[in-house]
Symmetry: C2
Subunit: 610 residues, 2 copies
Amino acid sequence: MSYKYAYNTRDVKFILKEWLPLDEVLAYDRYKDYWSKDDVDTVVDQVRQIAEEVIAPTAEDGETFGVRYENGQAYIPPSFHKVYHFLQEQGWGTSNYGHQTEGALPLMIINMLVEIMSAANPAFMPYLNTGQGVVDIIQDYASKEVQERFLPKLLDGTWGGTMSITEPTTGSDAGDLLSKAIPTDVPGIYNIVGQKIFITCGDRDDVENIIHMYLARVQGAASGTKGLSLFVVPKYWVNDDGSLSPNDVQCIGVEHKMGLKGSSTAQLVVGENKGCRGFIVGNIPDETGAGQGMAQMFNMMNEARLDTGRLSTAVTANAYWNAKDYGKERVQGRLLTNPKAGRVTINQHEDVKRMYMMSKSTTEACRALLAKCYYYSDVKAYDPDPARRKWARSKLDVLTPLCKAYPSDEGWTLIGESLQSYGGYGYCEDYPAANSARDVKIWSIWEGTNYIQSMDLIGRKWTQAKGEHFASMLKEVEDFIAAQKGNWEGWELEIEHLEKALQAYRGIMMTAMGFMKSGNAGLIGLYARRILTATAQLYCGYLLLDQAVIASRCAQELGEDHYDYMYYYGKTLSARYYLRSIVPNVWYTADLIKIADRTAIDAPVEVFDF
Amino acid sequence: MSYKYAYNTRDVKFILKEWLPLDEVLAYDRYKDYWSKDDVDTVVDQVRQIAEEVIAPTAEDGETFGVRYENGQAYIPPSFHKVYHFLQEQGWGTSNYGHQTEGALPLMIINMLVEIMSAANPAFMPYLNTGQGVVDIIQDYASKEVQERFLPKLLDGTWGGTMSITEPTTGSDAGDLLSKAIPTDVPGIYNIVGQKIFITCGDRDDVENIIHMYLARVQGAASGTKGLSLFVVPKYWVNDDGSLSPNDVQCIGVEHKMGLKGSSTAQLVVGENKGCRGFIVGNIPDETGAGQGMAQMFNMMNEARLDTGRLSTAVTANAYWNAKDYGKERVQGRLLTNPKAGRVTINQHEDVKRMYMMSKSTTEACRALLAKCYYYSDVKAYDPDPARRKWARSKLDVLTPLCKAYPSDEGWTLIGESLQSYGGYGYCEDYPAANSARDVKIWSIWEGTNYIQSMDLIGRKWTQAKGEHFASMLKEVEDFIAAQKGNWEGWELEIEHLEKALQAYRGIMMTAMGFMKSGNAGLIGLYARRILTATAQLYCGYLLLDQAVIASRCAQELGEDHYDYMYYYGKTLSARYYLRSIVPNVWYTADLIKIADRTAIDAPVEVFDF
């Protein structure tokens, strides 16, 4: 058994009960009669148990069975079927995203629960989660007819969903996609022709139907992303009596991946026999040829970007916790500082503790970042005050690229370190680290590569609303510094570092603006990924300190003998380590980009032949 | 076919013919009648062709066949057998390491050729190379009888060899191993009892016998590494008439690894039936119980450490060259700086060029570092002047931990980036990047983890010969700066950076010494791996600039229209990029370790449960 579940949920409970303003969200009409803060422990514990006892045992099937393709059908591991329907039936799945669902869990809570589940079998999770975005889009933008036809069976999990964007010739540049939509005699219904690749859950045999949110261009619409529209393209056409007929959506193969082997990544050919129909979502292209597809899709994509960061965080944290469990048992070597004490378990060695601490502090940082976004998701969706909904949306806009890219970039490094801490066993598939390493690499690529995220941050989010959204994020950090500086004994160095990082970050923005003004836009592309990392480190440094304000007080109040002391004390250490050993990268980045090294971009491509 | 060979050998030729003093080595008695500089192109081209046409086609078998274990025997891919014997017969194998071999290739040359071969099928290479260290030890330390019995068939490849150190309970701390040697009635022959794990090529079916260099403790010898002796333990006992009999060496299994699947990693049990004998190498333990095993083994281990760095470099370079080949074909997106020019191949995008340039400059840096060591290996082994042999040995001592750790640490990051540059295809096993990523991770672990290398650097190499050896390495850098400063037009910034890095590095040493003096030894362990990286970056910055002195002159002299211009020009870009975008990490490291963040080491291990 290579995959092992080692998740600890204490930090999730802290976030929901002690850090974020869950009460504010629980007061919304949608939730107030159903949920209270006291329910958090119960649902977290329940899902933790399900994750360990129901989901985790299927992980190995993902590796051994994989996804099989035969005669136009993708077959997923049989054990996944049972778990999928169990979770949907028990209310841990898509139903929580229905606007009309009675007793749905707050987004803040269900999304943290999904993290706990994700670590148990990351290859399985997309089967459970891809329906959510489809539900959101249909609820928000589709006609009543489409809603009635598709929502109920999506919400109860009878049908699955996908986001179908990428084509053989277009990945990052969706605006160049070739899929076409040709109007039929029925208004709102189009014939769809095209090919899609890398479609997560694009085919599977555990649901009766698959509802593709399919990006295509209506004949004659504008070129580029502007002209794209979104279509509801079911694998099987849903007749008026509810029966299903083939809809000329063919799965022509699945990818053989380095990891996430149990997750179906399908190649689709639609309308090859001129038999594929889809419902347009929202309006048809206007007189300028502009469709609404890209804007609609972005809603779904933004959620998928948070999902990606969450999967990365969950798998990285699980890899770290497995590593530290191994480190408790494995005896090897002597301590540098006390060699005479004899051999010790490896979890006591300096370099091993460094590896653990890197993972601990960074995964907590990522979890905090994501959780904050899930809080904003609730505010955005259900706060009665439109101004507050708009505010939450602006926060989400700014943070989403960080949520997607930072955890998935760090995951590769951190799981590499967790693997390293095992010694040779880390490289053996009988231990869980190798599996996690193979799994995590996709997340820096899918849902918009991390470069795309970086350019979204710099090109779009820095300047959105004349820069106000981003400035408000920096203001949060600034206000925190102002509030704590001189008032928080023992944390002077950490606050000083955060302040230095904030100043340095403003320097990064100045330098980058300078590049633009001096016609050096290429340098922005060159340094974009470093800048995104620095952005995440600055903001996460603030989040971890914000948590440490609470944790340090609790640790002090409870005292060392309290059963919860080590959690709170550990939280303060995460914040200290992050501020002292990770955040300095922000000012390093500021210095580095000032060098404005054009070597890589000025290089003729021919030099790379050598 | 997932594994692809995309190697370019121009840099190898530059190193041998234009950069390092090959003439000096070719003048040695061992070589002078056999080899001249003019042979370099011929042998490099020949081996490049063999790598592509003979070795690379077997790589896929490593992945699909793997290594199978049945009834006490490990079976390697059948196609590997043929290649192994072909290379040995053609003189590209172990014979080059025989002191008596007529016409052996200079170590500088054969070792660079092995890099070219390694990239073609890294899982195969240990079968070819592990015999070399065994030959060296037997030649240098074993009795004439042992030499006569074992050397001929090791040298012609009829038999293979291993380095057998690790045991189930001891990896990094070899001094605690449990294998025992009990004297027999025959002087020099011992009964051996013990278990070994992670033995590369520990069992295989392509050779008639396997000669294990087996580390064990003679009964009654001292504890720790001091008491260890080295034994020649053949899988089959070699009788006086040359016939073979079982020697109670059992292979009880092979590991199932994340990558390098075609490479045999065996678990051995020896002497379980009291039937295993081995020859002690060198002297029996002296009156203080001190054996010679560890010192002897270090010779072999140092070579294996260079091999490890070379494998990492080869696989990383091959992954990068595959990526840039893909980038020439794949059309996607528009240029930031010229969006109106329409869609372009991805090798023109800023972020993609950055990924290529990181890999190009870093693999060239690693190749330069290794090549310098292969030059020192020749001087150490064959220079007539004992003082010069000693000098070369001191250089090798200092550089070996860098050679092992730096390429293998960077490989994980760089191959991750090469994989990233493909987009989703990078994650699919039909493309070569995933395979390389899975392969490279082991090299930061085996032959002494990279932490062990870091502590070797700081704890041993910094202070060896009262610090003279290390100081002499820094002096090389200093002398280069002194010679070039103010004399090399257009390279002022690069020289300035190298000088700043050298100063910063001296600061790192001061800070670390300060840790020791203030009883903060733990902080050395904590920052050791960062310090090793900074050391490699400083020294490699110098090496790349040293190469650029030649390359910039050649580029200028030849002019842009010359077929070789892009190679030389590219070399100058590698140096510039490395000095401007990578070497700054040296001064960042200097600043960072001054923070002296003890958080990770002071953390009670209990905090990692959360």
